[in-house]
């Protein structure tokens, strides 16, 4: 069986746009006046990243802030495109990069479930099938008929998480979303992730919390300044990360 995710020599460049001209007016002025012209500074967020993730495998991405973890996750989620190289993803992806994205405040929880799930490409019938599981897992009860603008942050996130895990994904992309809700719900989320893993789902996971990575992931990948430092056994990578990153963070 072909791997779930193949990342092949992926480079990602962002243009940091100084003095950004995002209107015709500014472009026009820029023609005559050097001072108002836009300047672009290239910045390589990822350099030559290659790895594969097999079906049913859980990979942890570890690295300090700005190391390119989130960029990599977004490339796999296809909201960003690589500048060079290619990424092949086989299966339905459920990105849990931020919860509750695409909720509309005026709509009720129920209406948002249908709208949100269709944003991930589910058909009406598929949503009908998982609707009750989503409501039950979210523990929202009667609040499901209330507009989400009246939800608390926790309720909002619970609904978001519940939808994401019920999309019947083959691949889950998780960006530290477990830090939502109260501790009980956090544990419930973690249990759900472990359960999904047992069901053979592929998971790519970003977290700063070593224990969770250790519990959830088979392998881990250490990223620093856009480069892949090492890919291997989780405990080894965590150790490497601590020795490599910590002193740099702590010393002024």
């Amino acid at each position: 069986m072909l791997p779930a995710i193949e990342v092949r020599h992926v480079w990602k460049q962002f243009l940091i746009r100084h003095n950004r001209a995002d209107s015709l007016k500014e472009r026009f002025i820029g023609l005559f006046n050097q001072r108002y012209r836009e300047r672009c500074e290239p910045f390589w967020a990822l350099r030559d990243i290659s790895f594969t993730v097999e079906h049913g495998e859980a990979l942890g991405l570890i690295g300090p802030n700005g190391s390119g973890k989130s960029t990599l996750l977004r490339l796999i989620a296809r909201t960003l495109y690589p500048t060079k190289g290619e990424i092949i993803v086989r299966g339905r992806v459920a990105p849990m990069i931020e919860l509750g994205v695409g909720f509309h405040h005026e709509l009720t929880g129920q209406e948002n479930i249908y709208l949100n799930a269709s944003l991930y490409g589910l058909t009406r019938r598929e949503i009908d099938r998982v609707y009750h599981d989503i409501v039950e897992f979210s523990e929202l009860g009667e609040f499901i008929d209330v507009p989400v603008k009246n939800y608390s942050t926790g309720m909002y996130a619970r609904l978001g998480f519940s939808i994401a895990v019920h999309l019947d994904p083959d691949i889950l992309l998780v960006d530290e979303v477990l830090a939502v809700g109260d501790e009980r719900f956090q544990n419930k989320c973690l249990e759900k992730m472990l359960e999904l893993r047992k069901q053979g789902k592929t998971i790519v996971f970003i977290s700063h919390i070593a224990e969770i990575v250790q519990r959830l992931c088979d392998r881990a990948c250490l990223l620093m300044q856009g480069r892949m430092v090492e890919l291997g056994e989780v405990s080894k990578i965590i150790e490497l990360y601590r020795s490599a990153a910590a002193p740099r963070v702590l010393t002024p």
């Binding site: 995002d22 989620a77 695409g102 709509l107 709208l115 269709s118």
Partner: protein
């Protein structure tokens, strides 16, 4: 082994398209009982104001002027409303674009369909008015859906183009508003095409909206078959707009996430 296997198709996301249109309708009309009436007020006021100003002050010689106006103004509002809303179809949904990978065309297309739905509702209400004002019922009306479809396809192309361009140029909305104002007076909505001086008629014929509006007038005001040349012109504009619109959209959409 290509990336096609993971590239979501528009057809697969038909549910999303439907849900986005329903969402817009719900959000617009839920919290106001009068919501729908408000959306009728605008064309109604336009019809009254133009009737008074053009007929009694400027003395335009068009028989049954209110009927003539209704026929042209409703489809014009469909076009102009969609065009303005399209400039915010992508930029107004930055959060969705950045976080979720769905086919981006869905957003401007939902804008188009939302306005079409509103147009059809308005048409339903103004229908008795048409009858009351003595619109001629002839078999020519059978072609109304076809001309409307052509106009919607044309509008769709314009919407794709504007929504994509607006990401790089945020002031395109103001430019669109100005362009629409010029275009409105260059479209035979409040006057006959035949009133346009012969010398500049070619200029008005180049305006895509002229083709559609003239056809509507032919069918519902004059009670005759629409001019074949105008229908042909309207078809060409529809195909051209959709072609150019989707081409520009496809070229630019990869950078939406970074430019928003």
């Amino acid at each position: 082994m290509s990336t096609i296997e993971t590239q979501p198709s528009l057809f697969q996301y038909r549910e999303l398209l439907k849900n986005l249109v329903i969402k817009d309708l719900k959000v617009k009309y839920r919290n106001s009982f009068l919501g729908f009436l408000w959306s009728l007020l605008n064309p109604l006021m336009m019809i009254i104001v133009y009737s008074v100003v053009l007929r009694y002050i400027l003395r335009v010689q068009i028989e049954n002027f209110p009927l003539f106006l209704i026929i042209g103004i409703l489809p014009w509002n469909l076009f102009s409303g969609t065009a303005i809303a399209a400039t915010e179809a992508i930029t107004g949904n930055a959060n969705l674009i950045k976080k979720i990978a769905f086919p981006r065309e869905v957003l401007p297309l939902a804008t188009v369909l939302f306005h079409v739905a509103q147009f059809l509702l308005a048409l339903l209400v103004f229908f008795p008015a048409l009858a009351f004002l003595g619109a001629p019922w002839t078999p020519a009306i059978a072609l109304y859906p076809l001309v409307l479809l052509l106009q919607v396809v044309f509008t769709g192309g314009v919407a794709l183009f504007l929504s994509a361009i607006a990401v790089a140029y945020r002031d395109i909305k103001y430019l669109t508003e100005i362009a629409l104002m010029i275009l409105f007076w260059m479209t035979p909505v409040v006057y006959h095409f035949s009133m346009v001086p012969e010398r500049v008629r070619w200029l008005f014929e180049l305006n895509p909206m002229t083709a559609y509006i003239t056809a509507y007038h032919d069918m519902l005001y004059w009670g005759r078959w629409p001019d074949a040349q105008m229908v042909l012109l309207g078809s060409l504009w529809a195909v051209l707009a959709l072609g150019v619109g989707s081409w520009v959209f496809r070229r630019r959409q990869r950078l939406f996430t970074e430019d928003l």
